[in-house]
Symmetry: C2
Subunit: 68 residues, 2 copies
């Protein structure tokens, strides 16, 4: 497993948390995803043999949020 | 028809808009509901014979937002 913490713009409420955690969490290979609303971060744990950071960033982007 | 504009705390993103507009819009007697995110307001048009402001405020509260 690998871990990454991404800085993400625009997450403002619990709906945003659910959207991001839902979108990232349904990726095959993502084993954990946790949004910190106060810090504006998304912490992910993933299996690098199944998924990469580019796909994770795209899943966040697809929900309408900008990864720095 | 009657119109009212309510000041509502905590609406921060488009998910909030959908939650409030959905919750209020499904009330019988509400003919129009429009959230203004920048101003923090909810404008409603409703038939006072079918629904009242108390029920509208409760629908907003039920979505997790505070009506001033």
């Amino acid at each position: 497993m690998e871990n990454a913490t991404l800085n993400v713009q625009g997450m403002s409420c619990n709906h945003c948390v659910k959207a991001v955690e839902g979108g990232v969490g349904e990726l095959n290979g993502v084993t954990s995803v946790k949004v910190n609303l106060n810090e504006g971060t998304v912490a992910v744990e993933y299996n690098p043999e199944k998924v990469n950071l580019a796909a994770i960033k795209e899943a966040i982007d697809d929900q309408g949020y900008e990864v720095e």
